[in-house]
């Protein structure tokens, strides 16, 4: 299916029904992202960029419109299939890292493989390999609380990558980091994209967006700007 784009959104609406009022978070988004792209999605808070990220990440489905993920229509899938897609196709990186505090780094990284039904031996081997890649091989047995912020985010990136997903979906990945460690984390994303990994970063930070090669701006639930940056 690599002939089709990785992501194709067509006329995607997301309406939240709060009981009294209906809020349109997304009002007809059209967006196509190819394999291997490095995209920053920007927008002020309340613009709908978080909602867009949830839909891209298969955590939520559009109220209206079509979302083809690698050729598969996501809008009509069951929650089980969505979980499977999240597991196989998408690697999430969160602002607050969201490592499970009571499980070791290794266990955290293994978790998506566990949910994917990968056997213990292979799980362990792949988790160690990926931890080695992000430079945390010697921290595998530590608890997340024993790591620095930068190390935690690298562990979270390792966890996101361990299932070899089609896209990395990062939500303000440097938001809880100081400038230096934030830059280090961005270097990791740059390097990953350099070897062909699709990376989508949701951010309001222009410095972060500057790493991407394409910036999509969301305002009031619509794409207001979509431009490629000079490499």
């Amino acid at each position: 299916m690599s002939a089709s784009p990785l992501i194709r959104l067509q006329g995607v609406w997301k309406t939240y029904d709060t009981g009294e009022v209906q809020v349109d978070a997304l009002r007809g988004i059209d967006l196509t992202i190819a394999h291997g792209e490095y995209v920053a999605i920007m927008g002020p808070s309340g613009s709908g960029k978080s909602t867009l990220m949830h839909i891209l990440g298969c955590l939520d489905t559009p109220t209206r419109g079509s979302y083809l993920l690698d050729g598969e229509e996501v809008a009509s899938l069951s929650s089980g299939r969505l979980a499977e897609l999240r597991n196989q196709m998408i690697g999430f990186v969160f602002q607050t890292f969201n490592l499970l505090p009571r499980a070791s780094v290794l266990r955290n990284v293994e978790l998506p493989l566990l949910y994917g039904g990968v056997g213990r031996q292979e799980r362990r081997a792949r988790a160690r390999e990926i931890l080695d890649m992000v430079g945390l091989a010697d921290r595998a047995r530590h608890l997340p609380g024993q790591l620095s912020g930068g190390q935690r985010q690298r562990a979270a990136i390792a966890r996101a990558l361990v299932t070899r997903p089609r896209m990395l979906l990062a939500d303000e990945p440097t938001g809880n980091l100081d400038q230096t460690t934030g830059a280090e984390v961005m270097d990791v994303f740059d390097a990953l994209n350099g070897i062909g990994q699709t990376v989508i970063i949701v951010t309001h930070d222009a410095a972060v967006a500057a790493h991407a090669r394409r910036v999509v701006r969301i305002v009031d639930g619509l794409v207001s700007e979509d431009r490629a940056r000079a490499a």
Partner: protein
């Protein structure tokens, strides 16, 4: 995805919550402990009754005694009753097949004399079957035999205490004991028997066996004053099998009533006692079980409560897990298992506590304690079902969380 691995994943989480888990289990621990303790103690009491019965001729023994005349309403007919007689025994032997032993015994108080002592005691006139009926055991010599009966031999078998009283610590067998005016040869001495209902008890429930003076019924009738009386003081019977019990005992009462015209006898039926005891035991068991179940339910509510709290603070974690690809059932199994492990652990701790309590109280009350594997299984099954029942709802709730909402939750 392998269920076992999801299970392992859940257990890791429980371990990380040691203190809270311990608190969570207290209700279950105490519930299980109280169930075990009460079951153990009531079973202990019942076992002791069974032990006594086993020591004294088993549960198939039926005893018939004449009802003391003053308790019978005094119509002329009732007063004219001859009470239990040897003829009653013969009639039972002849017409009720369900009894394998029919042993009448007659008691007369006589002056007993040996070179060492002289004192008046009841002498029991019996047949050889008396030993089997009451499970008397001969320590030295022999018991009365059929030949003694047919030859009206002047022989006597003594309980351990009587032997000691009249013949000291030496061997009484072969010595002569005078009963009234007649010289009886001691042919056997019974084993000394003891049974105490609990360990602080000083009354020996088998003491009567040690005080027996047993002579052949024929010899006593031939030689003693009042000979020819066919009145017996007790009629001991044994059923061939528990199956014949109802029918046999009913036939016995019918026969005696028909022969006597009035109910001047009392039947003590161990099968019936046993049934009543079991019935009563069931009431105790039920009461204690209800108490135990109530405390388990309370324990379960605590578990559910803490599961809810734990669930509330782990909403975000559930969101993360779902983002990583966990399906509803992964989360469900994880939460349910956590509750199961907690209550299972509580059940195990409660089991140990209950066993310790039973032993301690058994020691304190000088009571016998009985613990069976089935009690342990029941206790663990109870606590596990508490875990499933009270973990179910929180687990379901967690499984159904919307990942977007869950991820937005602080914590």
């Amino acid at each position: 995805m392998k269920l076992l691995e999801v299970i392992a994943d859940g257990i890791v989480d429980v371990r990380a919550h040691g203190g809270r888990t311990a608190l969570q289990t207290i209700g279950v621990v105490l519930g299980v402990a109280s169930v075990i303790a009460t079951m153990g103690l009531t079973a202990g009491g019942r076992q002791q009754s069974l032990n006594y019965m086993a020591e004294t001729g088993g549960v198939l023994k039926v005893m018939v005694y004449p009802r003391p005349p003053e308790t019978v309403r005094g119509t002329a007919r009732e007063r004219s009753s001859r009470g239990l007689t040897l003829d009653d025994a013969e009639a039972i032997r002849a017409s009720i097949p369900g009894f394998e032993l029919v042993e009448p015994a007659m008691r007369t108080r006589s002056l007993l004399r040996s070179p060492r002592a002289s004192k008046s005691y009841p002498v029991t006139a019996v047949a050889p079957g008396y030993a089997e009926l009451h499970e008397l055991r001969v320590a030295r010599g022999r018991f009365l035999c059929d030949e003694d009966l047919t030859t009206r031999a002047a022989v006597v078998v003594l309980g351990a205490d009587r032997a000691h009283e009249f013949f000291g610590s030496g061997d009484a067998v072969g010595q002569v004991l005078r009963i009234g005016d007649t010289a009886f040869r001691v042919v056997g001495v019974l084993e000394r028997r003891e049974f105490y209902w609990n360990r602080s008890e000083t009354w020996n429930a088998l003491g009567w066996m040690n005080e027996l003076v047993l002579a052949p019924v024929t010899a006593m009738q031939a030689r003693q004053a009042g000979a020819g009386s066919r009145r017996v003081d007790e009629l001991g019977l044994r059923l061939a099998s528990a199956r014949d019990h109802k029918e046999g005992v009913a036939a016995l009462s019918r026969l005696l009533l028909a022969r006597h015209g009035v109910e001047d006898f009392q039947v003590f039926d161990r099968q019936e006692n046993l049934r009543q005891m079991n019935e009563q035991g069931k009431i105790y068991d039920l009461t204690f079980l209800v108490c135990g179940i109530i405390s388990l339910v309370v324990g379960g509510i605590v578990v559910a409560n803490i599961m809810m709290a734990s669930f509330a603070e782990r909403v975000r974690e559930v969101g993360v897990r779902k983002a990583l690809g966990a399906r509803g059932w992964h989360i469900f199994v994880q939460f349910l298992l956590e509750s199961l492990v907690v209550t299972g652990f509580g059940g195990l701790a409660g089991l140990l506590l209950g066993v310790a309590f039973v032993h301690a109280s058994a020691h304190l009350l000088q009571q016998q304690a009985v613990l069976t594997p089935s009690m342990a299984v029941a206790a663990l099954a109870c606590s596990a079902s508490v875990g499933v029942v009270f973990g179910f709802f929180p687990a379901l709730q967690a499984a159904r969380l919307d990942p977007v909402v869950a991820l937005r939750t602080e914590g």
